[in-house]
Symmetry: C2
Amino acid sequence: MLAEIITIGDEILIGQIVDTNSAFMSKELNKIGVQVYQITSVQDDREHILKALQNAQENADLVLITGGLGPTKDDITKHTLCEFFDDTLVENANVLAHVKSLFIDRLGREPLPANLLQALVPSKAIVLPNQQGTAPGIWLEKENTVFVSMPGVPYEMKQLLIDEVFPRVLKKFERPFIYHKTLLTYGMGESEVAKRIEAWENALPPEIKLAYLPSFGKVRLRLSSKGTNEKVLLQSVNKQMDLVHALLEDIAIGYEDETSIEQRIGTLLVEKGKTLGVAESCTGGAIASLFTEHAGASAYFNGGVIPYHTVLKTTILGVDAELIKKHNVVSIPVSEAMALQATKIFNSDYAIATTGIAGPTKGDGIDEVGTVCIAIATPKGIISEKFSFGTARERVITKAVNKALEMLLKEILKN
Amino acid sequence: MLAEIITIGDEILIGQIVDTNSAFMSKELNKIGVQVYQITSVQDDREHILKALQNAQENADLVLITGGLGPTKDDITKHTLCEFFDDTLVENANVLAHVKSLFIDRLGREPLPANLLQALVPSKAIVLPNQQGTAPGIWLEKENTVFVSMPGVPYEMKQLLIDEVFPRVLKKFERPFIYHKTLLTYGMGESEVAKRIEAWENALPPEIKLAYLPSFGKVRLRLSSKGTNEKVLLQSVNKQMDLVHALLEDIAIGYEDETSIEQRIGTLLVEKGKTLGVAESCTGGAIASLFTEHAGASAYFNGGVIPYHTVLKTTILGVDAELIKKHNVVSIPVSEAMALQATKIFNSDYAIATTGIAGPTKGDGIDEVGTVCIAIATPKGIISEKFSFGTARERVITKAVNKALEMLLKEILKN
């Protein structure tokens, strides 16, 4: 079965926000066997929304719509849905009671008239309760297509999708199994990887699709397939993945699966009862914030320090000032000393240290923009490497973060 | 004039990546007076791409296409474009020389045959040089619509768009001026804001559009307009913005403009010759990484510490262990001590400190999940506040980051 996602809101089309909702919905839909045919972002405009709904009906069995359900005048989704379904708005007693209770019990004040208007829903709709906010989800059917409208606020949409929409989708539609498996490789270009695995790729069975996803020093290889027999599907994809993994043994670091590389590191550290500290200069907290955005980080992440100015590497981290003077702040010895000191002050088994020039100007270093030294302290010693990551700040930081995580994961897997 | 953006790639439709390219393109297009009518994400599928191209031609004067230009077999954009334009691929000598030089001069090795295929371009195309990679931009015209195909790699797309596409668009199309101005308000709900400014909103001239953008404790109000006379347009939007700003004086903190709140803080600190340090417990480096992702951060950002475990607040930050024992680690006195200590160890004028329970479990604190204390140390003293940010980890962290930046900005503006 096919789904289409329609996001409504000028803020997406003028680039004021990045649409993260669609990626979340697509990923979750795939997990339950629903393929996303298209994602369409349209303006807060009646005619445009009507046209998108019409097109989506022709393409898809399920249309997920987000945005335009707020209490203010620029939000027109509900009225436009009524027009598309030849329906009228009626007050829903449950939503009314929910909105009142949200305001009185949680916020300690009376709702405004505009808030109470959230209780108006199309008369033909199944109303999906929104525990986190005032605008309910709306489920409507037209011929063989289901339309679901949800608020654009990410956490409200997520709760509605998982708790309310999915159980109904599972009940209503026959769905195949969809399976993706992604191999992570580091350190070889896309075309070189393709050349290495050419014979294997040419012999891939037609029901398995291969995609190359290159970015900043890593290439992800995704195998995708769908079918009705889950067991056969898994076997067939896993067999091909084993074959290609063997061809790329030297550059593959594992599978992407459900988890990111930092989550994988976290899981391994917890399993082994080990801990991590970070000393981030040029990456400025980006590595620490990756680890700490996931629940359970405190089980292995002890802490971090961002000695952005050179002097702090001595005063806070305790790196010998003479060492910095002798070798320069962006150097292998300084990165190694930072990593070693980080294990001491954070009392951790492992530590990541980064020092470099993110650019676009040289800062207080003498090295070229893009030069980064990364060191990993482990229970068995310290490894380190010096890199040139180009001249664009965003790219230098991202490459340094990716490389540091890759180096750490490889060390943890060795030990 | 209208543009449509088409992004090609299964990785978007299975939720493996978030489409950030479209937001960048939309924002830049608006700056040169091009309105984005629709953003469409389609699969790596010949028929689907052809259908999207056909639809876009009906809607738009300019169609920007990204993705599917890699050297591997899953990339089919170029062949499909040839089909749509009834064209064939021919070898372009300039691209061929560029690809060879990229490999031999920069990477020190010969290109593979697959890399050389990047020199094949549709015969009717204007070829746009891609300085950063091997796949060139392709400019094709059909009837009155221009189609531009670019690689999906963000930094390659950005360089092509700004350096190659825009100069040609400016020359070819008459464009109006488009102007957006966004007021940032904190601490009042969307419907309350709407009620406060109701009379003003009802009297807004029809050519000015108002949008409410609520998120995590802040509401952004955007005024948008387009027209042929830039001066009249700016005057009219600015006049209305002054009126609404005056109505919201107590909750407005400034304009979004080109810059984010952290960039605004950075600019103000540099102007005043002041510096910043951070001590982030529950925000885990997210605040530091926001500041340091922007160029020039080292001019005001001295450094940060992430004392994720309680004991580190004493050992690294120097917060009195007795104070933590007496008041609990998530408390106003501890947050204030953290901020004060951060100014000392980072030798900074200002400091942000956060301590809280991000969830979903309570960690080493006794407070409820979502409890966060934030303190701001300034040259004139310390302010602090205790918050309850709900139970979802992502939301707790984001709200804490936003609130901390808001508190800091308000203090800087006072001093």
